[in-house]
Symmetry: D2
Subunit: 353 residues, 4 copies
Amino acid sequence: MSFNSFGRVFRFTTWGESHGPAIGVVVDGCPPGLSLSEADIQPWLDKRRPGQSRFTTQRQEPDQVRILSGVFEGRTTGTPISLMIDNVDQRSKDYSDVAQAYRPGHADYAYDAKYGFRDYRGGGRSSARETASRVAASAVARLVIPEVTIRAWVSEVGGDAIANFDADQIAANPFFCPDPEAAARWEASIDAARKAGSSLGAVVECEATGVPAGWGAPLYAKLDSELAAAAMSINAVKGVEIGDGFAAARLRGEENADRMRPGTGAPDFDSNHAGGIAGGISTGQPVRLRVAFKPTSSILTPVETVTRSGEAAEIATKGRHDPCVGIRGVPVVEAMMALVLADQKLLHRAQCG
Amino acid sequence: MSFNSFGRVFRFTTWGESHGPAIGVVVDGCPPGLSLSEADIQPWLDKRRPGQSRFTTQRQEPDQVRILSGVFEGRTTGTPISLMIDNVDQRSKDYSDVAQAYRPGHADYAYDAKYGFRDYRGGGRSSARETASRVAASAVARLVIPEVTIRAWVSEVGGDAIANFDADQIAANPFFCPDPEAAARWEASIDAARKAGSSLGAVVECEATGVPAGWGAPLYAKLDSELAAAAMSINAVKGVEIGDGFAAARLRGEENADRMRPGTGAPDFDSNHAGGIAGGISTGQPVRLRVAFKPTSSILTPVETVTRSGEAAEIATKGRHDPCVGIRGVPVVEAMMALVLADQKLLHRAQCG
Amino acid sequence: MSFNSFGRVFRFTTWGESHGPAIGVVVDGCPPGLSLSEADIQPWLDKRRPGQSRFTTQRQEPDQVRILSGVFEGRTTGTPISLMIDNVDQRSKDYSDVAQAYRPGHADYAYDAKYGFRDYRGGGRSSARETASRVAASAVARLVIPEVTIRAWVSEVGGDAIANFDADQIAANPFFCPDPEAAARWEASIDAARKAGSSLGAVVECEATGVPAGWGAPLYAKLDSELAAAAMSINAVKGVEIGDGFAAARLRGEENADRMRPGTGAPDFDSNHAGGIAGGISTGQPVRLRVAFKPTSSILTPVETVTRSGEAAEIATKGRHDPCVGIRGVPVVEAMMALVLADQKLLHRAQCG
Amino acid sequence: MSFNSFGRVFRFTTWGESHGPAIGVVVDGCPPGLSLSEADIQPWLDKRRPGQSRFTTQRQEPDQVRILSGVFEGRTTGTPISLMIDNVDQRSKDYSDVAQAYRPGHADYAYDAKYGFRDYRGGGRSSARETASRVAASAVARLVIPEVTIRAWVSEVGGDAIANFDADQIAANPFFCPDPEAAARWEASIDAARKAGSSLGAVVECEATGVPAGWGAPLYAKLDSELAAAAMSINAVKGVEIGDGFAAARLRGEENADRMRPGTGAPDFDSNHAGGIAGGISTGQPVRLRVAFKPTSSILTPVETVTRSGEAAEIATKGRHDPCVGIRGVPVVEAMMALVLADQKLLHRAQCG
């Protein structure tokens, strides 16, 4: 029931604000005996880390993770794993603008309406900084599902989509872009947006291969339902698709059918419109997820708004921000995929042995 | 943790299969003292009921609901409300085809892979018949949120979208279509698909007005995250959008910003790209949800598949089916909206008084 | 989070009131493939059934259970199992007394204070009739833990304890008493209490053998913590002990230590003060639980009370009641033991494989 | 579902081991706007802190708590409150005995059986050191229920019970004993036990006044059921009673009835056998809880056991330990009472407004 926890058996709870002393996550329900050290977690955090190119926020956070519990002599004990990351680069800027006026597109107004006040420093709890905790937790989740390979990439920036897919290219540019030509175009468009005080949206795709048939628990713990909740919980996400998603709504029944043929052990599928999930249960095909990120709401261009006391104002966000937040969403989407799959694997084992 | 329950404080649990003696739902956590009788529930079930036009399945189910507990002298007591609907029209057809071979696009193979066997009669638990239970539960949920008005409609069938929106038209045609010209076109295209042994997908949109600012519980009980899970748990749904959804990924920051101006009591917003939710919390604007339904997988056109023993086969689904299942998704999407909002209202009251 | 659900993976939800049309339970998370029919459930309900001797309430309920879902061709499918029991003998008595005045020891006043009103017919939801649902659910739970044998008995009535233990005697008298001499004394004392318009309390003991070491999930899903919650949720229960319970508080450390010696496979324990649980985890020894039932609050002897409007009154409960409700607690305590153990077995399998 | 979380709306998750770098707790669901600083938490930790007299373990832990999140400008924000306590006095002793052999009465064997191995340093996760996290969390809980006063004391040590009750005495001796004469006797008996390498059990009583009628959620979130689970989750607890507990099983119905008379606003009760709870709901009377603590299992007296490899051994626990662990249970029982009541208050508000 916790508001800040996710998962059922493999379950994590995050805490921390953008400008508090630290952020962290408690991972509960992890199987015992898994080999785990900070070195298993750090690479995933490094992949998400800000300040690595001019296309992401210039906030410099080392994001050094510490394991505070749940590991003994290099192995998980089955007890809660507490991970902590210190906040280092909390620039002592002047927050009086944000404290007084609501930034459109941000959670400022909603938080005030709900809680009566808010920690306005860097967005407080609503900051995407929280996603570092998820990424840390996902490093543990990956140990639970060694049979699964997860890969995400950006397929579209500002409406400009990739035309080719070369997996080897994903790590070769700062956009997690599998198409070098698209990457070149995005470099220009993101630079232009940044210089114009604007920002761009993006689409992230994620694929998990190696998921065996049978994970997912109908009806209200369906694998696709859990993935949708997981993805939509990420900052700036406004849409989620499984398999063909909205495009499936434009297919005819016989086009959308993933035909089966005799295979080795399991059937071979002719296509994967379903994105590897039928009736909420994995089919053994790759699990495919698409996620829409809105353009960063923090922009230099001033926009009309109101103050806390209800007066008209203009606000421009001068802090350090990602011109296209969807790019840094790639490791976060991967993280949520890993976290959901680890949980569903254990759930399946619970019920079906 | 239950697989077949949804919600946190206002929580429901559904049970039943397509061809069992009955289906039902237990609603827990309902506030006491609400006026409730079968007459409050029946109209919503009637709206979802099959067999009302040639554009939906011809299965004839009266869907007569009975309240078995939780109501005394016409008011909810605060204890579990058990609702039951008898299955009446379980045609004694020959299921040997479905028992032996997997229908592509259906959960047949996945259920077998997970559970080792399955109730193949009419899809068993994976049948959309279960959604009647949700609709019944939602009638109770609506009593919890009298301040909210929920309205859903079909905005696209087989890729053919509405061009106009007239709310009064929604109830005036069998497609929940707010555009009479589109309705006329859909009549033809659905008829054609049905006669061709095919089926069409659809997009359903839903809007909830009257939701006050402040509902939704970041980070893992965000209002949008809950709505995404709720929508994706519906049979045949493959995509979910909040507000502009994927279109937001094609906007620039300044286009996507929902500017605020001084209003009466609360700010006035110039636009609603966000779909009424920021940082997982409602903003007081209409909550907007879009849902993609794939084309019905049950089609007369034979498709290649395999049998339980792994041999090649062809299967055509001869039963009574909706040529466009998304149409009957309208009351179900409305139901899930109501159920999520009722729960979030109580959650908000729990934490914030 | 549901108020009326219990368990984590193997989870049940009960519904229904004393004088509604029916009561029931939905069992979720049950493993697939278990052989189940009404005949597996009925014997446990019969054991609990009222009206079988003059020492229990004379309400005549056949307690005939029906399986409404979750079973196909005689086996559990892994989907929710809905069990329903019709209420038959709802005597149309005059409830005006109970409607107007609060019965001391009953939930009447508390329900009114919480919910604003209450279903006063036979105690409504607070009636022990609800325990039939638990017993029905426990029949399913027992299928999940075939390695475990559960046995409960009454060890004390009105302060008069057994002196001997002969397991074969438990079924040989209407008191579930393992000591024939005590049974004879209880017959007299319960008869006397009944005739005097009074009632007696009782202590029920329960032992589960065959529980392997390793079940239970520290810290807040400890096996003993779950058993305590389960037992205390039963009507009329006021105390719970694991192993030596309060007597352990009077032992010295070296007396209380359950010494171990080399055994076959697992250690042999010299004693079982701990009741088979250490650190919240089963040790492989018998799990031992003791439960205190207060005397039935429904007595013919008039007692002072107040009316709903706050005026002084006297009330005597004229309905059909158990003179010693603890006796019929035996199958209910067994049921809760089975339900907790089934859940913990699946939880352990989830985390530890 | 988390194993290491407790509560439904007001929910906490603890982490950490006896000899890790730190322990901590994340409190979720706390209402916003409550005034909170470390100074509100520290006194409760100080009350529980070891090493304050020769009657408790000599481990010296300052138990200095830090608030890492969830508080802004001195007030709770409604987001997760992360509290951390460094472990300071982790004496670098030789753990080879405990690593190799199982201490009877401890969780050593059970943890090994469950997880395959264990963190043996100071008991790892099964150490009572974890209770500091609960006490820290309870300081937040107390802010949620300012209307409630909670008081616990030791009523029995080694079978020697108090004869008088003077609330002012509780803080006047190192035993939380309300009877100065009993305190004097306990001083002698605990000293003797310590010197003999033995230990004593104890009974702790707790009373919460100011709880309004109506808290508690039948049937499986009953106030007494939650308290039982909470109490039984504390290390070394083997028994729980509400109100008269087991003594109620020895009363007659008319003796056990808490008669009501017209009062001001609410009824006046003549007695409180029920311990302030009827049907799982508070009645407005003081909530009374009794808890049995077994004697400390860590004793100097050698006892027979087996090694990890199954061979016979003897083990004596040489570390620093409480000769009567129940004494330090007092602030922990109070903590669990506060945590349960805060949660139930919010739950009640959720459902009943």
